[in-house]
Amino acid sequence: FRAVPDDGGLVDADEDKDIKTEASNDSWGNNNANDGRLLSPSPGSSASAGSNKSAAGASEEQQTLLAVLQFLRKNKLTESVEILRREAGLPEDSLEPKGADSLLSRVTASSTAGAQAPTKVAAGEDQPDVNVVLSAYSQQGDPALYEVYYSGLKRFIESVLDCHRAELSQVFYPLFVHMYLELVYNNHESEAKAFFEKFSGDQECYYEDDLRVLSSLTKKEHMRGNETLLDFRTSKFVLRISRDSYQLLKRHLQERQNNQIWNIIQEHLYIDIFDGMPRSKSQIDAMSGSLAGEAKREANKAKVYYGLLKEPEIELPLDDEDEEAENEEGKPKKKKPKKDSLGSKSKKQDPNAPSQNRIPLPELKDSDKLDKIMYMKEATKRIRLGPDNLPSICFYSFLNAYQGLTAVDFTDDSSLIAGGFADSTVRVWSVTPKKLRKVKSAADLNLIDKESDDVLERIMDEKTASESKILCGHSGPVYGISFSPDRNYLLSSSEDGTVRLWSLQTFTCLVGYKGHNYPVWDTQFSPHGYYFVSGGHDRVARLWATDHYQPLRMFSGHLADVTCTRFHPNSNYVATGSSDRTIRLWDVLNGNCVRIFTGHKGPIHALAFSPNGKFLASGATDGRVLLWDIGHGLMVGELKGHTDTIYSLRFSRDGEILASGSMDNTVRLWDATKAFDDLETDDFTAATGHIHLQDNSQELLLGTYMTKSTPVIHLHFTRRNLLLAAGAYNP
């Protein structure tokens, strides 16, 4: 029998020291190995990565600059070349010595990776870079030996101690994929098929979707333009492995002279080594599943100001509202500070909150203040929810929606409901008896008395009053809609690649925001209005302001479509979910990616921030809801129960209840208070990011509510905590 299992336990102090230096060497090695190829592509991690390896960074930066110069020169942009060279302080001859081709290709490749490129290079266009990316595979071994190598490693990992086996098993999937791709790239079709056949069954079940894509690919020609593949190639698969386990693996590979595998590990994998106990299988499973492995620990280290902004001071009318309403001229005479929960909360600054003007926010208008007052009045009548006091649920069924309901939104005060449809229309309904009216035409507006008290009433055209209005303008299904907080505007994003802004006064389209040249899957207004975010098939999320026709920020880094976008309650951050099965949190101020959450096993379709801004809930096609602590960057809960894609998540107004709506025709309510209270965030967990999740979904599940065979695609809590759900009944 082999003595390998013992090795793992025999790491003495001496060796330990050795390993540390080795580890740092390894990371160097990784960088050097990169030389022939490209930089670390993830823009979010590039900042932190840069600081991490400052020595290497310097030389790399230089090389990048050179490459840019090369590119400019090649495209005859001589002036730019001059300017850049002057600014960078590079010698004039700096371009000559190196192999121009390799540099150029490096840069183009890295731009495809999405680091700086504003738009994704369309698949199918000529992509000189693809060849370069793939060419890393050209170094090949004997195809017949691939199986031997892989099964050798498999045998080894199966024979190590249990505590290491789970960790080392993570290597299987990326290795498998890369080896298969190498075989395919080098035209060993039959060997590739045999390899796939033999080992695909060993992979974790949550990679099934990716494996399906992979299995359909058997020729080198297919690799061109295959996006999934490009993702795999251009991003390093990130693994977290404890130092002991890593050491074991390394020693094994070196003993066996297994260069083939070692090369792959060096080139295509990023191994995030940590000190301490190896993680258990369940811990690993909880965090893995995304397209590119787990998030690097550094990626989640940035400080996030998750606190809420201070509420603006608004004099609250006193309890005798009725009288208040009557004497109109009188502003509330005495400012009596309200002692209700809202008032006191908004007085003191949250230490975790961003400064009030970190992001410039629009001034409150008078109407906004009125609305705030309404909000506070309603809030005093809010029902306190809890496990013993569940919300009532109203279901808004869209009848005769044969054209396909694709998106729903409610206004915050629940007075309007809008639906986006697959026939590219947007329809707005008034949920209250108040009908929807258009503003009068310009000619008629001239006639009215502008000084009159009820001028706002007079400008409305009574003839146009109706229960619903249809907004036509898009040329493809409307996948996302969002009301502005002041209820004056409506945003809609569509398959036609545009986001449109509609006026709810005139019920006409005001602006079409073009920028995503591909379907836009989701859009949402900032809680403070003015800004909005959109995300789409081009893998980029964009931040816009309503009065700019070009985006203010572009958040790129996702490896697949951005499927849903949400604003943080303080408007300083944006969360995006993607079909690369990760969630990213972006800083609106500087466009940096400040959090990457992995753990979902399918594309993410729903996100919700808790009202206090501390937590994020996400739902995906895997039917699970995951809860995240934004401050610590940790997964803090997993809610299992749904059997189909979760399309909607919403916290109750006070954050005690989380409601989730799904394709499986149910609304489920979860005890959010308990889920967040039970949390133990000790320093170790926070530092390592290792989480122990107990499976308490059943305890947290407060109720399951069936609809009449209607998928739940939107949820909304009214200001008094009545839960509204919406969906289309299509028998």
Binding site: G124, S215, S216, F395, S397, L405, G419, A422, L669
Partner: protein, 629 residues
């Protein structure tokens, strides 16, 4: 490739590629075809995978052609047109060779463009809200099941329920009327629907009590007419209760003094009313009901009152149902009926009286059938360019259109069309025997051989030419057996009912109104209607009938559109009996039906385009006149 053993994906064989290439005139080598096939498979898989994201974002479970086309669009491939239909495309295989294809029907664009019955668009998209769960309660059972609604009845509703049932089933007729009216218009009784349906299903236990049965049917009527109720699956239960009243040999019918005929008529009317107003809900039932009616009709063991029910039931379902079921059965049934009617023994008197009822019902049904058929034919030939082709062209046209390929473009054909098309659609697996439409002349000849002039008169007033002079009631005074058409009032149809509403009432109508006011409060939906129909009171030359059948209860409140001349026709002794010949008028084989518009009853027929009217107008009909309300 074909030679691979395991198949993970759908694959396109080398041969298919070659075929495709050949069809466009390109010769391909084996290896080229193989490579192409493989690449095509890969591209297909790729497109399929990327199409799934469009499905996910549209929040659907079903991948549509549109999703696939979008995927193609975004990978710069032309979309595939022509497969966007929502309904499933029939996939056929050709017997010779392994060839599979999607059936592609020819569409007659001219007909489509000129059709006057322009289909209404689907209903408007709207949002409706309902409180699904109060305080998170009531969550143990999925919504929509009956018991959950039962437990959550509020006290008010419970009280309402008790009051209503007590009023309807109680003694006070006035109270009942009020209760029925409220049931018909109350918007808040949805939660009580299962209760009422349950009560109504109690018809089976009160089959001895005509009064109660009538009241329960009133209740059905009120529920059906309530615009705020969505009957949903409860309609089945209601229909089965109504069918019970139509078909069953009720205990009440043992006593000949009991007027169960009215009940059956009323139930039949109700049935047709349900089909008119809730066609969408009961379309699946239509076929089922036809089969059960047919079964009853073809079962000689059943009592005559059941047969009567079957006939009026068929009549209520529209002339197409009559044509489809009753007409083919007539020869067989006739023998039985004949035997009953020819038995003059005293012991048979009661049965014979029943037989006359059936006879009358059949007559009414077939007359209407003939009329409607002639009408539809004349409309068709009117639509056609040549009026001269007349009958032949018409019948061909009809033959083409009827076996369910596409609804025939007969603008004037009665609104049964919708239901009839269900029937035809279900024709594939239907237990109804094979049925081919009989051309009108043949049908008429056959019917005439049964009914003799009692039939012919009615018909001939229309097409005109063939008969110079419509014989009046006195034209055949020597009829061997006078057979008053007692049940002629049954020929009330949507056409007759609907027409006075939209047409100016013919003066004759108003003139003949005897002022006998009829209680129609529960059946009529509009006051205008009420006044109109009440003006049409009974004028019947029914004195004779009263003598012959003293028990027949139509005598009192007989009504009928006065323009109908009621004839006492002779009945043929036997099929093709020579003795009847003097009374049979010669009928030209191909009367130019279309040449002369059916003058005599034209004013009672709706003009072209009337079909588009909401079918609700059938809600009020003559049947209710017989109701002791």
């Amino acid at each position: 490739m074909a030679d691979r053993e395991e198949r993970r994906f759908a694959e396109i064989s080398r041969e298919s590629v070659k075929f495709m290439a050949e069809s466009t005139g390109v010769e391909l080598g084996d290896d080229v075809a193989g490579l192409l096939a493989e690449d095509v498979c890969y591209r297909l898989r790729e497109a399929t995978q990327s199409s799934s994201q469009f499905m996910r974002h549209a929040k659907r479970r079903k991948l549509t052609v549109e999703d696939f086309n979008r995927a193609l669009h975004w990978s710069n491939v032309e979309a595939i047109c022509g497969y966007g239909a929502q309904d499933t495309l029939p996939f056929r295989s050709a017997k010779e060779g392994e060839l599979f294809f999607i059936e592609d029907r020819d569409i007659n664009l001219v007909e489509l463009a000129l059709a006057t019955n322009i289909p209404k668009g689907c209903a408007e998209t709207m949002v409706r809200v309902n409180v699904s769960y109060m305080d998170g309660k009531g969550n143990l059972e999925p919504q929509g099941t009956v018991p959950s609604a039962v437990q959550s009845l509020s006290d008010d509703l419970l009280k309402y329920y008790q009051q209503i049932t007590r009023a309807i089933l109680g003694e006070d007729p006035h109270l009942m009327k009020v209760a029925l009216l409220d049931l018909q218009s109350n918007a808040k009784i949805a939660a009580l629907l299962p209760y009422f349906v349950y009560v109504i299903s109690g018809v089976k236990s009160v089959s001895h009590d005509l009064e109660q049965l009538n009241r329960l049917l009133h209740m059905v009527k009120s529920l059906v007419q309530n615009p705020y109720l969505y009957l949903g699956s409860y309609i089945r239960s209601l229909v089965s209760s109504v069918m019970y009243c139509i078909l069953e040999p009720l205990a009440a019918s043992i006593n000949p003094l009991n007027d169960h005929w009215t009940l059956r008529d009323y139930a039949a009317l109700l049935l047709s009313h349900i089909f008119w107003t809730h066609g969408d809900l009961v379309s699946g039932l239509y076929h089922q009901i036809l089969v059960s009616l047919q079964k009853v009709l073809s079962d000689p063991v059943r009592p005559l009152c059941s047969h009567y029910g079957a006939v009026v039931g068929l009549h209520a379902l529209g002339w197409k149902a009559v044509e489809r079921v009753l007409f083919p059965h007539l020869p067989a049934y006739w023998a039985n009926l004949q035997a009953v009617l020819d038995d003059y023994s005293v012991s048979n008197a009661q049965v014979k009286a029943d037989g006359h009822k059936v006879y009358g019902a059949i007559l009414v049904a077939v007359e209407r059938l003939l009329k409607m058929k002639a009408l539809s034919l004349s409309q068709q030939s009117d639509g056609g360019s040549s009026g001269q082709t007349g009958f032949a062209g018409g019948s061909i046209c009809y033959r083409v259109s009827s076996p369910g390929l596409s609804p025939p473009p007969e603008p004037l054909s009665e609104a049964t069309l919708g239901i009839a098309s269900h029937l035809q659609a279900g024709g594939a697996g239907c237990p109804l025997e094979e049925w081919t439409p009989v051309p009108l002349p043949a049908m008429y000849c056959e019917l005439y051989s049964f009914f003799g002039d009692s039939l012919a008169v009615r018909f001939s007033t229309g097409p005109g030419d063939a008969r110079k002079e419509p014989p009046g009631p006195t034209s055949n005074p020597d009829t061997t057996r006078k057979m008053p058409q007692l049940t002629a009032n049954l020929n009330i149809s949507p056409r007759h009912d609907g027409s006075p509403r939209t047409d100016p009432t013919p003066p004759s109508l108003a003139a003949t109104g005897s002022g006998r006011s009829l209680t129609r409060s529960c059946s009529s939906s509009s006051s205008v209607q009420r006044s109109r129909s009440s003006s049409r009171s009974g004028q019947r030359s029914a004195g004779l009938s009263r003598d012959v059948f003293p028990k027949a209860r139509f005598t009192s409140s007989q009504t009928g559109p006065p323009a109908f001349s009621f004839l006492i026709g002779g009945r043929q002794m036997g099929l093709r009996c020579q003795g009847r010949r003097p009374f049979q008028t010669n009928f030209a084989p191909t009367p130019p039906l279309s040449a002369v518009p059916p003058r005599a009853y034209a004013h009672k027929l709706p003009v072209i385009g009337r079909v588009g009217k909401p079918v609700r107008r059938w809600a009020c009909s003559h049947y209710s006149l017989h109701l002791p309300l």
